[in-house]
Amino acid sequence: MEPAKASPLLQITGLKKHFPVKTGLFGRPSSSVYAVDDIAFDVHAGETLGIVGESGCGKSTTARLLMGLIPPTAGTVRFDGKIVGSPALPLKEFHRQVQMVFQDSYASLNPRLTVEESIAFGPTVHGVSRREAIARARSLLDRVGLDPIRFAGRFPHELSGGQRQRVNIARALALEPRILLLDEAVSALDKSVEAQVLNLLLDLKDAFGLTYLFISHDLEVVRFMATRVLVMYLGKVAELGPTEALYTKSRHPYTSALLGSLLSMDPDQRTERAPLAGDPPNPIDPPPGCRFHTRCAFAEAVCSLHEPVLHAAGASHAAACHMVPPNGEHSKSGMAMKAVS
């Protein structure tokens, strides 16, 4: 991982999304789900930023916020220094630069359109002639490993899951974006197909100079793909750091617990007890202080009182834990987490 050279390509600050759940009299929301609660991070050109976390931690909401598919409650997204949605960078222009691949390969293709029509749709929206868009669609199909003569005229239900996800990647690339947001893009595929698609993604990244935001719950896949990893817990950033540093010297107990849940290939390395018990707390009513303190083995009084901020814990490595700063109120403050695996 090389340190940030220039200004970040994508800069997210204070991003929040609260979904009102109950509506009181006169449509006033009485309580909210804090799906994404004040997160900030940068994405640098050419890197692959992995975003991991349990189901419901806000990974997908973050993706949809970044794409402008849902309006944020607060916060801004800057692309190339320009605020997305401002006159300097309208959403439509932003969408040419950032595209997304969804998890469900079938649901993300219009069942009534042929594969090439689906891929060509984006370019036609941005003023490319239909003929040229179709030509681009076919060349992209070729690029993602699907023979255009055989596949361009097919409908989504006539393809396998892996082939459909290749089509989705081609569709995302049709606008010639600089960032590709992959929201659990390989999670629904079986392992051998997943490996092929991952290799295709690595290959495309090199060929087109792409930047990836790779959202997944699969820690092994993220380790394989990502240069930096962001760990989310209950709508917050728990830890952010270079992949190897984070996987070998994690500084947040939650990251350690997640990594501890990985199954080892070595039969002697048995998981004796569950590294993390229970479900995440209800995001409608998140616990006070550190959101992880209800499940954390190291929780102390300070953890339920004060919310930890992201503390620097090494070169471009940060964790939101009271144990990270050297002279905090936590009895173990300043101690490095025991390396897992």
């Binding site: 598919l69 040419r96 969804f102 219009n110 005229g153 010639e176």
Partner: protein, 294 residues
């Protein structure tokens, strides 16, 4: 450039049969639906070519041969209360009955789909305002609404059409809204939004193709209802006026002969029955043919 565009890539590709071709293949294998389709087609042809098929003049009566039973020489299906040939009038009656059955449904299909799809796609306040307005009309029983409308507007074919159209807009808008709401949240619509397309383009390219099927099938099922309602309006004297040959109106004027010529009185009803059941069976066939689980 990002990608090389070569002319080779515009060579012909292998095309899969489209959705509608698959539907047609399935429809063709359904004998009941095909039978109903043939009957509907025959009725339509009968209506179009009525002057060529009908043996007599539909308006020319003769008081000496009133209310003859079916089978009377020269009058295959007998004569009505003014001595006009029943067969002729039943053939001509298909014109107005089919017209009154199909036209309001198609106008309502266009308007109801527009309202429902816009409400369903945009959601929020637009949805609330549009759909609550529709619900006001929906709250009335359809027959009552049609009679009230036609009564308020006055008798006549045009007013009958307007009344029936207003009756059918709410249910079609409801169906359109519910299927659109289902499609709107699908990932491919999100993907289309993520490519920067506006609402109009997404509705045209991604929503309509996926909602038109169910809406169309539902509208088809309303054709029979519309015909019966139109007949009902005519029967009450609110739709077609005499001496136009209309099945509903004929039922009305012949009802006085119910005890003397029951078979004759039932004939227009039989026509209404055949037509509406054919449309219903055709709709059922279409519905199951379109239910392609892919």
């Amino acid at each position: 450039m990002f990608l090389a565009t070569s002319t080779k890539l515009l060579e012909p590709i292998l095309h899969s049969p489209g959705y509608w071709r698959t539907v047609w293949t399935r429809f063709r294998r359904d004998p009941v639906a095909i039978g109903a389709g043939v009957v509907v087609l025959a009725l339509i042809l009968m209506a179009i070519f009525a002057p060529l098929i009908a043996p007599q003049d539909p308006y020319q009566g003769m008081s000496l041969r009133r209310l003859r039973p079916p089978g009377t020489p020269g009058y295959l299906l007998g004569t009505d209360e003014l001595g006009r040939d029943m067969l002729t009038r039943l053939i001509y009656g298909a014109r107005i009955s089919l017209f009154m059955g199909v036209t309001p449904v198609f106008v309502a299909l266009f308007l109801g789909t527009t309202i429902g799809v816009v409400a369903g796609y945009l959601g929020g306040w637009t949805n609330t305002i549009l759909m609550r307005t529709v619900d006001v009309f929906f709250a009335f029983p359809s027959v009552l609404l049609a009679v009230a409308m036609a009564g308020a507007l006055g008798a006549g074919i045009g007013n009958g059409l307007i009344a029936l159209t207003l009756v059918f807009i709410p249910p079609i808008a409801r169906v359109a809204e519910s299927v659109t709401t289902g499609v709107r949240t699908r990932d491919f619509v999100e993907a289309a939004r993520a490519s920067g397309a506006g609402a109009f383009l997404i509705i045209r390219k991604h929503v309509l193709g996926n909602v038109m099927g169910p809406i169309f099938v539902y509208a088809m099922s309303l054709i029979a209802v519309s015909m019966i309602l139109a007949s009902g309006l005519s029967f009450l004297g609110l739709g077609v006026k005499p001496p136009e040959p209309d099945w509903g109106l004929m039922l009305n004027t012949l009802r006085t002969a119910m005890y003397t010529q029951p078979l004759l009185c039932a004939l227009p009803g039989v026509m209404i029955f055949i037509t509406s059941i054919s449309f219903n069976l055709l709709t059922d066939g279409l519905r199951s043919a379109m239910d392609v689980k892919s």
